[in-house]
């Protein structure tokens, strides 16, 4: 486990209890808490790659974390081109990865 959440029990900010949620990422269940972004949930599970670049097929995930770079695009509940770092996850969200072939055909 490399990228990971700060363990609430030892976090000096003393977080209060949070509301657990589950999202589906490419059909796999991922646990998170309410208020996390889609990118936050992926990174907390050490998932760094969820896209490939359109020409070279190179792995991409979160880079700027503030909505500027558009590297982290995913499909959320059927909607394409959603910045994972900007979208708060909701319980039951269905997240899929965008493939290079899809983004060509627009």
């Amino acid at each position: 486990m490399v990228a990971r959440p700060v363990p609430p029990a030892t976090d000096p900010i003393e977080p209060a209890a949070s509301t657990p949620i589950t999202i589906l990422v490419n059909g796999e269940r991922r646990a998170g808490v309410l208020g996390q972004t889609v990118a936050g949930i992926m990174l907390a599970a050490d998932t760094l790659t969820w896209r490939t670049s359109p020409v070279g097929g190179r792995p991409r995930g979160a880079f700027c974390g503030i909505g500027v770079c558009f590297d982290c695009l995913v499909v959320v509940n059927g909607q394409r081109d959603v910045r994972a770092c900007q979208r708060r996850a909701r319980d039951g969200d269905v997240v899929e990865f965008e493939g290079p072939s899809q983004s060509e055909g627009e």
């Binding site: 363990p7 003393e14 209060a16 208020g35 670049s53």
Partner: protein, 474 residues
Amino acid sequence: MSEVVIIGAGPAGLAAALSASAFGARVVVLDAADDVGGQYWRHLPPERPSNHESLLHHGWATFQRMREALAADPNCTVVSSAHVWAIDRGAVHVLVGEADGSDRESRVYRPDALVLATGAFDRTLPVPGWDLPGVFTAGGAQALAKGERVAVGERVVVAGAGPFLLAVAASVVATGASVVGVYEASRATRLVRHWAARPWELAATPAKARELVGYAAVLVRHRIAYVAGHAVTAIEGRDRVESVTVSALDGSWRPIKGSERQLEADAVCLGHGFTPRLELAIAAGCRLSDRRFVEVDAEQRTSVASVFAAGEITGIGGVDLALAEGAIAGHVAAGGGIVDPALRVEVARRRVLRRFARRLARAHVIGENWATWLSDETIVCRCEDVSVADLAAARSATRSSGLRSLKLVSRAGLGPCQGRVCGRTVEALLSARAPEGRLGGASTDRRPIAMPIRLGELARDHEIEAGIPVKGQG
């Protein structure tokens, strides 16, 4: 009562809102995030409360005070999740709703005065391997630490230029990760020359000095090496970061041969200063300075009547300068004057803090030979996979130094980020070899549509403009 619209709810925007309201204006604050604070006070959402969030921030009490004052102010409306996508002849076009959603509400504001406080984002110079997962912008790693409580890695390297690297290292350490080292490209002699010059000026900005000393203490406590005159000149790994190469640099940022060292790491935070978010200012018609910030006069007026600017888009100066500029801009936008007693303190603070900003700018100039650490295969434009060699090929194919044709041939800067990440780099790489050093006067800062917008939403905006009643669902 005049209406003042403020774009951006970071320190400058918040200060502008409170001071415009105090002078008697009706204020609307538009901000793309779902809560106020901007990048500087990026924080956990209300669904994730904690007892001591202030530990992650500087000036948290100031922020809380401003946020509460704004919420309690009947003349101020904060519209969060407000994505301003165009400014056209005084009309501010906004989509309100979830980021990249499809059923967002379209609004158009035509205020009496507009205050632009759109801030800045990390400038990141490319490095071989910088597109590997596990590489983050310095600000991105900090945003994930503060706004998500996520550690981007276990062994983290922080590299680039500027005092912000210290803040990032402190944020990363506070996630429990270990910081392998902080590598500052500027050499110690340069840093000392500019930081130690005129020490009485530093004494006039105690908050800044305290903040820096605080970061230095974090580094000492965690035994983190701060190495000046060094850069990460390559990042290695198969499908994620596995190691970095650190090299000593000369004064022009050219790597010194034989100085390379490989360090094991699983995440890298890169930042080489900041790029102002200029697209809305350009759309509004504001004149830019030679250093490519929004030009403002003593009253924070831009070259366009009734349009004001404050904070990082007028020059990188930090939170306190943004607060002072915002307060001045808001007051004047609401109809006040610079000589009003209400502004006396802010005007004096602005003077001192601008001097501090100039010191920073001089100490942390990007070295002219940084590009010597690139290889032909290094990706320049991450969106479109344009490499250094592709860019060179585009230039010889077009035999042109016009930025527009070079972009069209190479596709650099034409992807979804619209050149935000690579724009300045593309300009630097192309103009270094362009005969006149200029690129046909073009700039990568111009984005007539400031944010990607879905076609259905664009159609609805036109219906609003034409006065056609908008149906509930599109």
